[in-house]
């Protein structure tokens, strides 16, 4: 097995054999590739600034899945391969996380999210269909990936019969906010606006967000952050009412920052939307926000919302 884990340059011919011998510790190099280098450097006494791995900047390439065993990412330019070991067991509740993963901007981001989706569920390993079966169902559903090659032919023709899955990531330009949504966001900025008009505006925004792509969520992060507290509160409340699924980390982080707002309704709205819309990542952000309760002016109300929504 290749121990030069920072680059893990394995060719396809050896990949499969190597996957068999990978274990959980091999995740470390992937999760913390830049930390690993300084450790290595410390051993050699030759510190050097870490270099960015080709996957970190690549917006085009493939991630391939070997049933029961692992996944491999490679840039279109053939820049480098990373391996991730998979458990052979199924993870039945990872759909939303995969949805988040396939909306990634870079190959490295996509691979990281795939790994997070898999390994954050290790406590829930269950008997059942193999992971690849679940993936089959998932990928047959709607994704934004432009091509999914079951045969793996375009990447490695010799593996066509081996059952590899390949996801191809292509560059996507950022989504421009539709003009009508920009107008609705403007409505939320107006301090003299009646609440009913603001509610009508957020209904339209939520309807648009419910279409469910991460590009849409990404497009509203900046406008949302600049909203006044009332605008934020009404928007977050509407998202929670609609039980939207939000998955774009910067948007969820923007919401999480409002948990410590001085506006008590905004603090409650942020809490509710993280709980109802943000999935596991939203819940972890909420936990993080509550780690220092002295920084949360309405911590009691925040805890009250958590209790109320958890009893539903």
């Amino acid at each position: 097995m290749n121990t030069d884990s920072e680059t893990a340059l394995l060719d396809i011919g050896t990949a499969r054999r190597s996957l068999d011998s990978l274990d959980r510790t091999d995740l470390d190099f992937w999760y913390n590739p830049r930390q690993r280098r300084p450790l290595d450097d410390a051993r050699t006494g030759n510190p050097e600034p870490p270099e960015e791995h080709p996957l970190e900047s690549s917006t085009e390439g493939w991630i391939s899945f070997l049933p029961k065993q692992g996944m491999i990412a490679r840039t279109t330019a053939g820049g480098g391969i990373h391996l991730i070991w998979l458990s052979p067991r199924a993870y039945p509740h990872i759909g939303s996380k995969f949805k988040r993963a396939v909306a990634s901007k870079t190959l490295a981001e996509m691979l990281r999210r795939m790994a997070e989706a898999l390994f954050s569920e290790t406590a829930q390993i269950q008997e059942g269909p193999l992971f690849i079966d679940y993936l089959d169902d998932y990928l047959n559903a709607r994704t934004r990936l432009e091509r999914i090659d079951r045969s793996y032919q375009q990447f490695a023709p010799s593996h066509a019969a081996s059952g590899w899955w390949t996801l191809q990531l292509r560059h996507h330009t950022p989504l421009d906010l539709p003009k009508v949504i920009s107008i609705h966001l403007e409505t939320l900025h107006n301090p003299g606006q009646r609440e009913e008009e603001m509610y009508a505006a957020v209904d339209a925004i939520v309807e648009w967000l419910a279409e469910g792509t991460e590009e849409q969520e990404a497009a509203i992060v900046d406008p949302v952050q600049s909203l006044p507290p009332t605008g934020k509160r009404i928007l977050f409340s509407a998202c929670a009412d609609a039980e939207l699924h939000l998955s774009h980390p910067p948007l969820l982080r923007a919401i999480a920052r409002c948990v410590s707002a001085h506006d008590k309704r905004l603090a409650q709205a942020a809490t509710a939307s993280l709980l109802l819309c943000g999935g596991a990542f939203g819940k972890s952000l909420l936990q993080e926000a509550l780690r220092d309760v002295t920084a949360v002016p309405h911590a009691q109300l925040v805890r009250g919302i958590i209790a109320l929504l958890n009893r539903q």
């Binding site: 609440e195 509610y199 939520v206 419910a210 409340s237 509407a238 929670a240 009412d241 609609a242 039980e243 939207l244 008590k264 309704r265 409650q268 709205a269 509710a272 009691q300 109300l301 009250g304 919302i305 109320l308 929504l309 539903q312």
Partner: protein, 243 residues
């Protein structure tokens, strides 16, 4: 109009079955079913009441008027329930009666609106201010005939006083509340309870031949009411294939 007016707010009458001056039974409990289109605003109110103490500030009272009473003027439509338990069939009939007219609840609706949720309050009569009055008004029940006999008009002089009473009732846990949503099935559960009640009263329900005593509503015919109730209860999920 059948008049069953009485003055409310006397704690000594709470829970009794005494008759009012017109000989009609006085409701023990009222179900104030409000379609809280802004469920989260309803939840914030409940949360703030649970963590606060009376007297509640004017801002919170105003929010009850805005989001729970919907700024409506006197009288309010309320329904009678035997208990403050959300599984009381009076509550279920009130929920359905207050919501069945929504376009997106119909069988042919494209899809149920997201966030189409409902907050309800189950209020013992004794929690209400002495200044309120109740009038039995079955004809004011718009679109769900089985709830006719449970419909009352609640007249009040001061909506802020009423809101304050509701807040105190929530705080002292004498007023019960529910959040009903589509996605977790809690709304459907109320429809199932109402449907079951209707079966016991009317027998097997068929939209194409509705019971004679099941009247047309203001916007829904009797057939449409039955069809929508069956749709909301999603009876297909458990219905016998022979039926």
């Amino acid at each position: 109009m059948i008049s069953r007016g009485f003055e409310g707010g006397d704690p000594e009458n709470f829970g009794d079955v005494a008759n009012n001056a017109q000989g009609a039974p006085i409701p023990r409990n009222l179900v104030l079913v409000r379609m809280c289109r802004r469920r989260m605003e309803f939840i914030y109110i409940i949360n703030e009441v649970r963590t606060g103490t009376p007297p509640f500030n004017a801002e919170l009272v105003d929010r009850v008027v805005q989001h729970v009473l919907d700024e409506e003027n006197s009288p309010l439509s309320v329904y009678e329930a035997a208990t403050t338990d959300p599984f009381d069939c009076g509550h279920a009939l009130g929920v359905i009666a207050a919501t069945i007219g929504r376009n997106d609840f119909r069988l042919n609706a494209r899809n149920r609106a997201k966030g189409c949720t409902c907050g309800t309050l189950l209020i013992p009569r004794a929690c209400l201010p002495a200044s309120i009055s109740l009038t039995y008004t079955p004809e004011q029940n718009r679109d769900f005939a089985p709830a006719d006999t449970r419909h009352f008009d609640l007249a009040f002089q001061d909506k802020h006083e009423l809101a304050q009473s509701v807040l105190i009732g929530i705080q002292t846990r004498t007023v019960a509340w529910t959040f009903l949503t589509n996605q977790d099935g809690t709304y459907r559960l109320q429809a199932v309870i109402a449907y079951s009640h209707c079966l016991s009263v009317f027998g097997k329900l068929n939209p194409s031949s509705h019971p004679d005593s099941w009247r047309n509503g203001a916007t829904l015919t009797a057939s449409e009411q039955i069809e929508t109730l069956k749709h909301l209860a999603d009876i297909k999920a458990v219905d016998s294939p022979l039926s």
